[in-house]
């Protein structure tokens, strides 16, 4: 047998008519015995039925025309607040574009700096090696290899062919 508290929990399903068959029997058995629950459920169901029977209300007949007039007026002359919003969004788009350009510029500049640093390092290493080995050469012998060039550069360079032309420029040869 259901208690009053349990019965109250099934008011919704019972009012909707979606109570399971076994529970339905227990529910109605309790209502038969308990006048308080029976009264409460009747009032509950009645109030739900009042809501169900409330009719749909109808707007005035000229509302659609008024909507179209409002729509046309607003599209032709947007309200100051909307104009401000549009301006704000266009400004925001502009600032996004500016930020993107700045980022691209930054990447290019960083790349260039790194590239220049690499050239400088290469040149210094070759100058050092030239001094160390007291090597002499002529412009025609540009393809001589310098032992240890790749190793000294600290990079994974298999070849020992320095960029001779750059070196000659740096050393003033």
């Amino acid at each position: 047998m259901m208690t009053c508290k349990e019965t109250g929990r099934y008011f919704d399903d019972a009012a909707d008519g979606s109570l399971e068959e076994t529970k339905k029997q227990d529910f109605h058995a309790h209502l038969k015995q308990c006048k308080l629950c029976s009264k409460a459920f009747m009032s509950y169901r009645k109030s739900v039925e009042r809501l169900h029977s409330a009719p749909l209300l109808e707007p005035g007949k000229d509302v659609f025309a008024l909507i179209m007039a409002k729509l046309n007026a607003q599209t032709a002359f947007p309200a100051p607040r909307e104009r401000a919003a549009k301006l704000f969004f266009s400004f925001r788009k502009l600032s996004y574009a500016a930020a993107f350009c700045a980022a691209v510029l930054l990447v290019i500049m960083a790349g260039r700096t790194l590239h220049m640093e690499k050239i400088e390092k290469e040149t210094q290493v070759v100058a050092f090696l030239v001094q160390q080995h007291s090597m002499k050469w002529e412009l025609e012998s540009v393809n001589i290899s310098v032992p240890g060039y790749g190793e000294l550069l600290g990079e994974d360079i298999a070849q020992d062919q320095p960029p001779w032309e750059k070196v000659f420029t740096v050393l003033g040869i």
Partner: protein, 195 residues
């Protein structure tokens, strides 16, 4: 049941697609499909016919203005009711802040509809002065909303959940609470009227 549900959703989407292509005819179709229900929702929420009509107008102006950018991520009903709900809550908030209608003013406003030549307006005025409406107005906004959606407009728990951003369980418990509170308020209103 599932197929019917899908068909309704397809029809709703078709209406919106037509509106996206443009044309007053498509706008009118969409308006006619939703106007009564949206108006009922607004009138029950606000308890005032004139305010409800204003919100109905603003809702459709917003819908038509933004229909092109609608991406079908939710159903048309969810979107349109969402706009109406937002505008209703906005109006209720403004009313609380700036406008204090006295009981007499409210009755006068209702009577102006009742006296009108249009019989539809008189019925509406009578409905908005009924004990059901009085009891609804005594409920917190969310309870009122969930009762209107479920009991008056016939939305499923799932639909209400999507519209309110709640889980289905929350909708059920909120509805249970709202129904119980409404029954109590209705009894109070009826007792008050009998005195």
């Amino acid at each position: 049941m599932e197929n019917n549900f899908k068909k309704v959703r397809d029809d709703e989407n078709e209406l919106l697609l037509q509106c996206q292509r443009g044309g007053e005819q498509a706008y009118r179709k969409l308006y006619e499909a939703y106007a009564k229900k949206i108006y009922t929702f607004c009138a029950r929420m606000l308890g005032d016919a004139q305010d409800a009509e204003d919100v109905l107008q603003d809702t459709f102006v917003q819908v038509f203005k933004n229909v092109e950018s609608f991406r079908f991520e939710c159903s048309a009903a969810t979107w349109i009711y969402g706009i109406a709900r937002h505008l209703c809550l906005d109006r209720l908030r403004r009313r609380k802040k700036f406008l204090f209608l006295s009981y007499e003013q409210k009755v006068e406003a209702g009577e102006s509809f009742a006296d009108s030549q249009d019989p539809g307006r008189a019925l509406e005025a009578a409905e908005l002065k009924s004990d059901v409406q009085s009891a609804l107005e005594k409920l917190p906004e969310k309870d009122r909303m969930v009762l209107i959606y479920r009991e008056m407009l016939g939305f499923s728990y799932g639909d209400i959940g999507v519209m309110m951003g709640w889980k289905e369980g929350t909708v059920k418990s909120r509805l249970h609470h709202a129904r119980a509170l409404f029954a109590r308020r209705l009894r109070e209103v009826q007792c008050h009227d009998d005195m």
